[in-house]
């Protein structure tokens, strides 16, 4: 259920950003400078071309799906054109239409990052989702919710960490993390001793992020955890390690 609420809040956040981005302005008429623009019936190269708008014609852009734009010609015909062709259109002022794209630079200057990753936590398969906020280009803070499933037990992990990214503009940008949280270990129901254990953890980690495409990044990391499980019966804390590979979107 916790995961459900997290997913729901992610959607609300996404929706808010999308709503903020999509401003309700009058569509700007554009002039075509390519010999022609092909209109497809759907947002993809596989959809057939059903209409062609000639050079010099005026069009308006209605919406976007991935890298396809729904445009409308003066005679009312509406269809999907690729970004490649749209890059050749002109603004009323005579300037070429500039596509402020999500690119490596946008990635460096991102504020929010939401992602999911999978890997192994001490030989148990683990899945986690996280949300991060960047204070500066180099420093961000993240909240991670992890769930791992092993043969004899499963565990939930909550963690808040600080992430330091010294070279955000590198293609493979390394980062270091330092975090605190809590881990709850739940033995499987078929075992005789089904008592949950709840312990604080500290974490230190290393990894890298790389920009893939549009709003997409790939992230690989290795973490070392110390579980503060020492008590009257046990002298030592536990050390466990984790590696993860994941994807994230930023905005």
């Amino acid at each position: 259920m916790k995961a459900f609420y997290l997913l729901l809040s992610v959607i609300v956040l996404l929706f808010k950003t999308q709503a903020a981005i999509a401003q309700t302005e009058q569509p700007v008429p554009l002039t075509i400078t390519d010999p022609f623009i092909e209109l497809h019936t759907g947002p993809g190269s596989a959809y057939p071309v059903f209409y062609v708008v000639d050079r010099g014609s005026k069009i308006v852009v209605l919406k976007r799906k991935t890298s396809w734009y729904k445009i409308q010609a003066e005679n009312g015909k509406a269809g999907w054109a690729s970004k490649l062709q749209m890059q050749q259109t002109l603004l009323p002022s005579g300037q070429t239409l500039k596509f402020v794209e999500q690119d490596q630079n946008a990635f460096v200057q991102r504020q929010w990052e939401v992602g999911a990753s999978t890997g192994e936590l001490e030989k148990a398969q683990t899945l986690s989702i996280y949300a991060g906020y960047a204070f500066t280009r180099n420093i961000s803070s993240e909240f991670t919710l992890g769930h791992s499933v092993g043969n004899v037990s499963s565990s939930d992990l909550y963690k808040v960490n600080l992430l330091m990214q010294p070279f955000p503009e590198w293609n493979y940008s390394p980062f270091f993390t330092l975090g605190l949280g809590s881990i709850q270990v739940k033995p499987n129901a078929t075992l005789i001793e089904p008592a949950d254990k709840n312990n604080a953890v500290s974490q230190i980690g290393i990894g890298f992020k790389t920009y893939l495409t549009r709003r997409f990044i790939l992230r690989v990391e290795f973490n070392e955890y110390v579980i503060f499980s020492a008590n009257n019966d046990k002298d030592e804390n536990e050390d466990i390690s984790e590696w993860k590979v994941g994807f994230a979107i930023f905005f």
Partner: protein, 218 residues
């Protein structure tokens, strides 16, 4: 003396004139150049990609059936979030809820139930990657056409059932039927593979899921 003075005066005047005229000429040159540089001062139209409303996210609600091995076929509700990376690939987060029915053993022996009511509740989540294998169109009549896509999807996640978490691998396919640019009707068929140990031995189970749902792009 006078002629000498006049000569000097005139020559200096000519010199001055020529000097200033060159100055003026060069200044003119600069002016025209400056004009050229300044001339394309047009009203800047701040228009960019961000102003065009993007529709890359999609929320979906599904209802259908889950055939849970040994526990019968039961209704399933699912909530999904898609992010369309490009025209071919999308990623999906899924949350689903179902329950396990009675096993044949329980029905035949009429004995004590194997699981409590709470343990029969099934909750699962997964992270998936989808691929639009066959984008196309459906022609309902000569005039009405709808965009469609057959997609393949696979992912990993967790299924909580019978008191334990079970690491789950799922794969399947689906058919997306776009009523408009924003609204889609979907049907998905997936197999959820996870280990079960309810009967004392660990065995791999294949649990088929068939759902129909509606989605909204935003």
């Amino acid at each position: 003396m006078e002629s000498w003075f006049r000569n000097l005066f005139l020559s200096s005047l000519i010199l001055c004139c020529s000097f200033f005229s060159t100055l003026a000429l060069s200044a003119d040159d600069e002016d025209t150049q400056n004009n050229v540089l300044i001339q394309p001062e047009v009203e800047r139209q701040l228009f960019n990609e961000a102003q065009i409303g993007g529709n890359d996210f999609e929320v979906l609600f599904f209802a259908g059936f889950l055939s849970l091995e040994d526990f019968g076929v039961n209704p399933l509700l699912a909530f999904k979030l898609n992010y369309h990376v490009n025209e071919k690939i999308f990623v999906q987060l899924t949350m689903a809820q179902s329950e396990g029915g009675e096993t044949s053993y329980e029905t035949i022996t009429q004995g004590a139930p194997l699981l409590t009511e709470d343990e029969r509740e099934l909750q699962s989540y997964s992270i998936n990657i989808g691929y639009n294998l066959l984008p196309g169109e459906a022609f309902l009549s000569d005039q009405t056409t709808f965009n469609t896509a057959f997609y393949l999807i696979a992912g990993i996640g967790n299924t909580e059932f019978a008191g334990s978490d079970r690491f789950t691998f799922n794969y399947g396919g689906g058919y997306r039927f776009l009523l408009s640019d924003e609204i889609s009707i979907n049907t998905e068929f997936r197999n959820n593979v996870f280990d079960m140990d309810v009967f004392g031995v660990v065995k791999k189970t294949n649990n088929l899921e068939f759902t129909v749902g509606a989605g909204w792009f935003f």
